[in-house]
């Protein structure tokens, strides 16, 4: 705006390309001039999407968000995803952002109209290995899409396997921003960052996606599915400001890494790895559906959720925000509407669970079956905690049986 400008500015080629990609976000969907970028494969898809700008406003009013300009781009990018016939989504929402060391992931979550077909069977599946759940069910009910900035192409993440979930529970590793980067962790993780990201997103969703208490009816004799409670009286911001006001929407993931329990075939010969004692699994107590967030296991003295009301406006219009102490970066916001509660979930963080104490890698397995060359990497310098792991292992155990996964 000011008339005077000091110096000429040259954009680098990379910056120009970036800008042009982002510009496409704003272009009318099927009206782009240079033919190259037009996605003109039939009608736009009609996936349901929430009012993202409204959701982002709720988050903004409690101090969470990317600023107005970025918000628009995010909303537009998700809308483009929803309209893309290639992905054929039934519904989709902005899930959040994973902050990586070299780059970030913007994440969208949705259900497909037609679940993806199961991958081709491996030739000789080990009958004792827990099989993954099929797309559209359990841990693979939702599909995840990531891009490195709003406007960049969306990449669909693969389905998650129980083994990936189990391994992800035992490691902490920062995301790099490169989906293909190797997972040089101990214990080893079966897959690349792409699979690790998918596993973590599932864990986060399961532990932190909440809905206002009473809004949904659990399955009963008449209805097998979760239904919307038509008699629901919207909760006040004060109600929404405590974990008692919310219930978990996502199903519990068992220790074995599945929602639906899988029992191995009766062992013929005892040649299992020793890692997966199926009998123990039987004793796992699984929380029911729509469990109150109040029952989530606290982290030591810190409650699992901390609530706050937005400030500065009449109490009636305040926005309540619960932030997860277990998954720092997970937030749920809600507000009172005349006839409905508006609410939304998001996650903006590094993708790590808070253990409530310094992380200590699990002890190596008793007997190493096979030489695993992924272990041959150099470890970073051990910290004192690593060299002298704390005696108290309760928090860790608690955690794995606790409120999530």
């Amino acid at each position: 705006d000011p008339v005077i400008h000091k110096q000429s500015r040259e954009l680098t080629d990379a910056a120009t390309k970036f800008l042009k990609t982002q510009k496409l976000l704003f272009a009318p969907p099927r009206d782009t001039e240079d033919g190259e970028e037009v996605v003109d494969e039939g009608e736009p898809n009609d996936a349901e999407i929430p009012d993202i700008m409204e959701e982002l406003r709720l988050f903004e009013s409690v101090g969470i968000g990317f600023g107005p300009q970025e918000s628009v781009k995010i909303a537009r990018a998700v809308w483009k995803l929803a309209e893309d016939p290639k992905f054929n989504l039934k519904n989709v929402r902005f899930f959040g952002k994973i902050l990586g060391t070299e780059g970030d992931y913007y994440v969208a979550e949705g259900e497909l109209k037609e679940p993806n077909p199961p991958p081709e069977e491996e030739e000789d599946p080990n009958p004792n290995v827990v099989p993954p759940e099929e797309n559209g069910k359990g841990t693979n009910k939702y599909n995840y899409f990531v891009c490195s900035y709003p406007g960049a192409p969306w990449v669909e993440l693969p389905d998650v396997t129980p083994q990936q979930i189990q391994a992800a529970r035992q490691i902490v590793r920062a995301f790099t921003g490169d989906l293909d980067s190797k997972m040089a962790t101990y214990p080893p993780f079966p897959g690349t960052e792409r699979h690790y990201l998918r596993a973590q997103l599932g864990r986060i969703a399961q532990a932190t996606v909440l809905v206002p208490n009473g809004m949904l009816n659990p399955p009963n004799e008449e209805e097998e599915e979760i239904t919307t409670n038509d008699e629901f009286e919207p909760l006040t911001p004060e109600d929404l400001c405590t974990s008692a006001g919310w219930v978990h929407e996502r199903e519990f993931v068992r220790l074995q890494g599945r929602v639906e329990k899988w029992s191995p075939p009766p062992p013929e010969t005892d040649d299992d790895d020793g890692d997966e004692p199926p009998e123990e699994d039987d004793t796992e107590e699984v929380p029911g559906i729509l469990t109150s967030a109040e029952e989530d296991t606290p982290i030591g003295e810190t409650p699992s959720w901390v609530g706050r009301l937005s400030k500065g406006m009449p109490a009636k219009y305040a926005v309540a925000c619960l932030r997860s102490m277990r998954w720092p970066g997970a937030y749920v916001v809600g507000t009172y509407g005349e006839k409905v509660n508006k609410f939304a979930n998001t996650y903006i963080g590094t993708g790590h669970k808070s253990l409530g104490e310094a992380y200590a890698p699990p002890p190596p397995p008793a007997i190493e079956q096979e030489f695993d060359d992924t272990l041959l990497i150099e470890q970073p310098d051990p910290s004192p905690e690593e060299e002298f792991p704390p005696d108290d292992e309760e928090g860790e155990g608690d955690d794995d049986e606790g409120d999530e996964d």
Partner: protein, 286 residues
């Protein structure tokens, strides 16, 4: 400047009561940078938004420096894709366009018909003028509106520019704002109308350089400029009431300044009736 767009709007919006939407700001923030790169211009500024009944026109302007040249305008219908906004072809066309009244539609191709008495070119000498129906596109009207508004509101604070003895106009590197006394006076704000700039509408072309850097306090009707300093302290805003939707701002202590227009391009013809009598007259009259 695209980079300063938000800041400038931050000063203008509170006085205008009109704003760009988040969507528009975000889109402009990206597309103006691309435009500047594509046009390879030094200075590219967001100029304003002209609202039609069905769509809007976003306007940007670039200047070559030193400032002896015409500003070049660009327009966009979606704040993303930009085209050149050609100035009215001639004063004649401008005069004709200015007769078209009513709101813009937002469609640059929209056709307007103007009926005019003309002597046919191939007619004999002394022939009677005939009624001719001429067609003009809406984008021509937009260009005229932009020129007219820009002529009125392209305002700079005193001292921000200087002219070298050779006649070259350039920024004054020593300019760092106005004092409180200065910034509260209309005399401190000058029209920026480069010589080559011809006035819009049917005014006589004024070739002398007085119009360049003339004080806005001489503009008619008297009282057409309002100066308010109430928004943020040290920020002064000016509005030209003849063109509702205009706002110029000056950050008094840094010298940052700019202007923008958000409106439907309509001129307030009733202004002389609306303005209260000048204070002196008021006193003597009662």
């Amino acid at each position: 400047e695209p980079e300063k767009l938000m800041q400038g709007l931050g000063y203008c919006c509170p006085v205008l009561g009109r704003t760009l939407t988040q969507w528009e700001k975000s889109s402009l923030g990206t597309s103006l940078l691309v435009l500047r790169k594509e046009k390879a211009v030094d200075v590219l500024k967001f100029w304003g938004k002209i609202t039609g009944t069905q769509g809007d026109y976003f306007i940007a302007v670039s200047y070559a420096r030193p400032y002896d040249f015409l500003p070049t305008f660009y327009y966009s219908r979606n704040a993303t894709d930009w085209d050149d906004l050609e100035p009215p072809a001639s004063l004649e066309v401008a005069a004709r366009l200015s007769k078209i009244k009513g709101l813009l539609t937002g469609d640059p191709e929209n056709e307007y018909e103007v009926t005019e008495m003309q002597i046919p070119e191939d007619a004999e000498e002394g022939a009677e003028p005939e009624e001719v129906v001429l067609q003009h596109k809406e984008i021509e009207r937009v260009a005229l509106i932009v020129k007219a508004i820009d002529y009125a509101i392209c305002v700079i604070p005193k001292g921000a520019l200087l002219r070298t003895p050779e006649g070259v106009v350039m920024e004054n590197p020593a300019f760092d704002g106005l004092s409180e006394k200065e910034y509260r006076s209309l005399d401190s704000y000058l029209h920026f109308r480069p010589d080559a700039y011809y006035p819009p509408d049917d005014e006589v072309v004024c070739a002398d350089t007085d119009l360049f850097l003339a004080s806005i306090s001489l503009d008619l009707p008297v009282g057409c400029w309002t100066l308010k300093a109430s928004g943020a302290p040290t920020v002064v805003t000016l509005q030209n009431l003849v063109f509702p939707g205009t706002a110029c701002f000056l950050v008094a202590d840094t010298g940052e300044h700019g202007y923008c227009y958000i409106g439907d391009g309509v001129v307030n013809d009733d202004l002389p009736f609306q303005l209260p009598p000048l204070p002196e007259l008021d006193k003597s009259g009662l």
